[in-house]
Structures are given as C-alpha cells and as structure tokens.
C-alpha cells in the first residue's frame, strides 16, 4: 500500500515538516547536506553552550511531548559546573492515542532530528545520548541507525566534533510496546533495563537524578527539531511565531470524523478549532454534525460540541475581559485549551461526529489505559480496570443505574493519587465523558432498572 502523501495546506507554516512529503527528498545525508543540512550545527558549535540555552529560553519554546513545559527552563535545571556526566534522551516513544507526528520526522527526515539533538547535547554538555524509539517503529529505528552512521562518517557525531573538543555518542534504543515508557522517568527506568515503573518527583526530577542517577534531559522529537530552527533564526525571532507564551509552530494531528485527516504544521494559536476542522481538514462528512472533540491526545478531557466555554481574553491594554465562546472559537494553543478545561497535550485532535456513541468511545479509551497501566500504584492499577469493566458492562447491557456515579467516583480516586501523570491520563477521559455526556451514560445505565447500592 503506497504511503499517503499530501501537499501542505496553504495555511500551514512548514518549518519542522519542511521536508515531509517533499518531492525527491530522501533520508540519506547527502540529500540533507545539499539542502543546507548541519549548517545550524556548525553555527551552534561557534557559540558558547550557555548562549544556546539562552536562545532557547528566549524562544519561549514549550515541550511538544504533552506537558508543554518550557524547554529552556528544563535545560536550565542542569547546574553550572556539574561534575556528574550529563545525558540527553530523545523521547521517540510516540504512543499517545491520536498523535502521529514524530513518526514522519523519524521515517522521512532523521538528520533534522540528529542535528537538533547534537546541538542540544552541546548546549547541555551531554556526551552520551539515546533515542528511545517505540518498538513498533522497527523501520524507523533502522533509518535512525543508518543516519547516525552517516553523521559519524561526516564528523558530526563522535570525537572532537568540529574541532571543538566536544565528544558525543548517540545510540538508538528500542522500546517494546509499553505506553508508560513515554513518561520520562518510566522511560529512564526502561533504558536502565528494568520494568518502566515511573519514579516519584521529588526527588527524581530527571534533570537532577535521571539516567543512572545523573542529570538527564528528556526531550520530545519535535522539540529537539525546533531547537535547530531556533539556532537558525535566533530565539527572539522564533518567539515572534505564534502567540505570547505559545510560540513557534506545532504539528497538529487530526484523526476521526473529518474529510481530510492528517498532520498539519501550524503557528501555535494561529487558528481556531473551527478553522482547523472546517478550513484545513475539509469539515465533517456530508450530513453529519459535530458531537465531541478530544483536543490533545486521548488523555485530554473531551470537549462537547454544543457547550459554551468561558475564557478570559487579554486585551491590548493589558486588561482581561470575560468571554463566552463556542467550541469552534477555541484558539488552538496551550493556554486557551487549558482555559476551556482541557489541554493541548501532544497535538492529537480526535474528532467525533453524531454517529459516534460516547459510551463506546470511552470504553475504547478505558481499554487502552487498563492495558497500559504499569501496575505500580494501586488506584491506577485497579481503577483503570474497574473503569473498563464498568463501561464494558454498560455496553453489554449489564449496567447498573448508578454506574455513571461509580465511574466518576473511581476516576476521582485515581487522579492525584499516583506516582506519575498516568493517573490523570486515565481518569480525565472518564471524568470528562461522564460529566459532559451524562445522558448518554444514564440511558445505558438505566436500561435494566437495576441499582447496585
């Protein structure tokens, strides 16, 4: 089956995805070099590491993996004069349902990722780096390994890079099908050859006590690619893309009930949800109406299409005004999606029209989290399975009238009670689906007229 190639939409601003689906583009280093590849690395090697960190801070870049944490601040946690070895890990475990952006960088533009990584390693003084790639990307792992060999042959990786005295080795490390390895401390445990049980923070912030208990920077694939472009244009210039506190471009992945699902690189906050779905993605299928949107990967709270959302909008004079907006008016950036009670997360937008059964959809998500809970914390290990059992019995006709309440109780007792954010990730879908589509759940629950309590 041929790969599905698409031409960029006119509203896109392709920076990280410049070479994706580009005619004649290949993954080998000659192609990359002919296009000006590794020039930013050369530029960066002429800068002081702290200058690079400052450029990244000035860019306002926020992590693209899901949490949206400022990248420069994360790097700034490495103490000056650190005596322990420092490691950098590229998180290429892309596994949040609804997200499919890193796949294309890895498979079509591996050298862009490597260049961003090498610059980042130089900036934080990491001499050993790993790309933790999900096990289900066997071809991607091979492409990256080939790219590393090519970069080594050209002196971009290895000893005394560019005559600066900076040494760096990068290795590819394959996961083996566990979602929890996308959580950075779980990833670190996995890379240490253990079960990926996340570590508790504090004290195990990776920048202080990470891989082998040494300072470690874990960045997403897209974030590391952004670093290359920040060096190219300068942090201040980069920060002009997008909106204040929501800078740069973002790879949005749209799936589900739209005419043209796919990946789109857009300025952060450069458009609204309605523009994304109707203008970019060709709208819904004929005769359908919008029912719900999950805006940032399956763990983001679902948004109901006919809800009104209260947000505060900043005016040019600095004052804020209360506004009530519909789902289509929500601006696609970190702050606005947080303001309406969900999150931008990993950029995975899942669209559902009126043909979809919300109980069925939640059950599908619950099955995912029940399968992927690592089992370390009791509320999550037990609760994720209970939530899955309850939505399954609702669908199978064996529900109880108070099941919607039970679902909420179980979810409420997971969120905030676990070592890692998986607790929230598995509770938020249940909390939001039941709250926003109560009638749909109640209709299933009341079919038998049975009550449990």
């Amino acid at each position: 089956m041929p790969a599905i190639v698409r031409t960029p939409h006119p509203r896109e601003r392709r920076i990280v995805f410049k070479n994706i689906d580009r005619a004649g583009w290949t993954t080998d280093i000659d192609c990359y070099l002919k296009d000006g590849g590794y020039e930013e690395l050369k530029k960066a090697l002429n800068m002081k590491p702290e200058e690079i960190v400052n450029e990244v801070k000035a860019s306002g870049l926020r992590g693209r993996g899901g949490a949206g944490f400022p990248c420069g601040a994360k790097w700034g946690f490495i103490r000056p004069g650190e005596t322990k070895p420092i490691y950098l890990i590229c998180n290429a475990d892309e596994s949040e349902p609804g997200t499919f952006k890193d796949r294309y960088i890895i498979h079509q533009d591996p050298h862009q990722l490597l260049e961003g990584m090498i610059i980042s390693c130089y900036a934080v003084n990491a001499r050993l780096a790993y790309i933790y790639i999900r096990g289900e990307f066997p071809l991607g792992a091979k492409i990256l390994e080939t790219a590393i060999q090519e970069a080594k042959a050209h002196g971009f990786i290895g000893k005394n890079i560019g005559g600066t005295g900076f040494d760096l080795e990068i290795y590819v490390h394959r996961g083996a099908g566990a979602y929890i390895c996308g959580e950075e401390t779980g990833l670190i445990e996995s890379l240490e050859g253990k079960r990926p049980y996340p570590r508790i923070k504090p004290p195990y912030f990776p920048a202080a006590l990470g891989l082998y208990m040494s300072p470690t920077i874990v960045n997403n694939v897209e974030t590391l690619c952004d670093v290359k472009h920040i060096i190219k244009m300068g942090g201040a210039e980069y920060s002009k893309i997008g909106r204040p506190n929501n800078t740069g471009t973002r790879l949005l992945c749209v799936s589900g009930d739209v005419q043209k699902p796919g990946y789109y690189e857009l300025e952060v906050g450069g458009l609204t949800m309605g523009e994304l779905i109707n203008d970019i993605c060709g709208g819904l299928r004929p005769g359908r109406t919008l029912k719900a949107i999950i805006p940032g990967g399956s763990s983001a709270k679902v948004l109901r299409a006919d809800d009104r959302y209260k947000i505060k909008t900043k005016q040019p004079d600095g004052t804020t005004v209360d506004e009530e907006i519909g789902i289509e008016d929500i601006r696609m950036d970190f702050d606005n999606l947080a303001a309406v009670g969900s999150m931008a997360g990993s950029g995975g937008v899942i669209v559902m029209d009126d043909s979809r059964d919300m109980v069925w959809a939640l059950n599908n998500i619950n099955e995912f989290y029940a399968h992927e809970s690592c089992g370390q914390c009791t509320p999550c290990r037990e609760g994720s399975l209970w939530m899955n059992k309850i939505t399954t019995r609702l669908l199978d006709g064996g529900g109880f009238a108070d099941d919607p309440d039970t679902l909420k109780t179980v979810a409420d007792n997971i969120a905030g009670r676990t070592i890692c954010a998986f607790g929230e990730a598995c509770a938020w879908p249940t909390q939001s689906f039941v709250a926003k589509f109560r009638d749909d759940f109640q209709a299933y629950a009341s079919r038998n007229g049975r009550k449990q309590s």
Partner: protein
C-alpha cells in the same frame, strides 16, 4: 540453545552501547533473541541474564511486562492490528475479523489481549495492539515489520498473498 557467531557478535557490539551499565542492554538483547528464535524461551532468559550478569528473574520480569515480547512462537507471519480509538472508529474491529477469516484463524470470545491467535497450520498469528501512531490513516496494521495504513477489508486477501 545455539547462538550463531553472527548473532553473538551483534550482541557483544550492542552491549558496548551502554558503557555505564550492561543491564541497559536487556531490551535490545531480548529483541535480538526474539528476532532470531521467534520467541523468548526460558533457556534464552537464563542465557541473557548470564550474559548481563543478572539473575533470570531480572529478565523474566521484562519479558512478562513488555507487550512485544512473547514466550511462545508466533505464526510464520505475525499480524498486528491497531485497536485504539481512531482506528476503531475507522473499522479496525471488523478489519481484525476479516484478517482472521482469510488467515483461517479462529477467534474465541474474551479479552483482546489474552493470547496470540494462530492459524492451524502456523502460517499466521494475529493480535490486537494499542495505538500504532498513525491515527490519520486509520485503520492501520503491521505484518511482521511492515507497516500498512488505510487498510480496507477488501485488500486483505491480496495483502495476505504477499506473506505466503
């Protein structure tokens, strides 16, 4: 259990990727062992543990945790169909059934992740897996290491013919 020289050399090379701790090589070694033998036997677990100066339990606990590792052989060709939301909306449950029908795999009731399902002659095995990160081209699947997107049920017989 016989480890051919080429594999032994590869394993030794991979261990050098982890200068700080050999234990880190556990997952890569398990991948290599599974690629060669088709699954990870008790003997292989003991061998990998000894190679990395660990106890067998340190390796067994990985094999039982990580979904991609298996302790019994799969079919000659292994099919993974994505089960998660966008693919399910795109028809992956029905796609799995179609694969089963054409691969002559009997599908019992019960959980999706319970066991690998195999055709009687051992040519095919199939399992539902969680999100394969290609939600925009749903439904998607993998056959061995090959990835297929936008898979229609009509294309299944042709697809299987490529994997005799």
């Amino acid at each position: 259990m016989e480890i051919p020289q080429e594999l032994a050399d590869h394993i030794d090379e991979v261990i050098t990727h982890y200068p700080v701790s050999k234990r880190s090589a556990a997952l890569p070694l398990l991948h290599l062992v599974q690629e060669h033998f088709g699954y990870i036997s008790d003997e292989a677990i003991t061998w990998v543990a000894a190679k990395l100066e660990l106890q067998p339990i340190n390796i067994l606990e990985l094999v039982t945790f990580y979904p991609m590792f298996r302790q019994s052989p799969a079919g000659k060709h292994h099919i993974r169909v994505c089960r998660t939301l966008s693919c399910a909306m795109g028809g992956s449950y029905s796609l799995l059934d179609t694969f089963c029908k054409h691969a002559k795999i009997e599908k019992p009731g019960g959980g999706h992740h319970a066991h690998l399902l195999k055709s009687p002659d051992g040519t095919y095995s199939i399992e539902f897996v969680e999100c394969l990160a290609s939600c925009g081209t749903a439904p998607v699947c993998m056959i061995n290491d090959d990835f297929y997107e936008g898979v229609s049920e009509d294309s299944v017989p042709e697809l299987l013919k490529k994997y005799p």
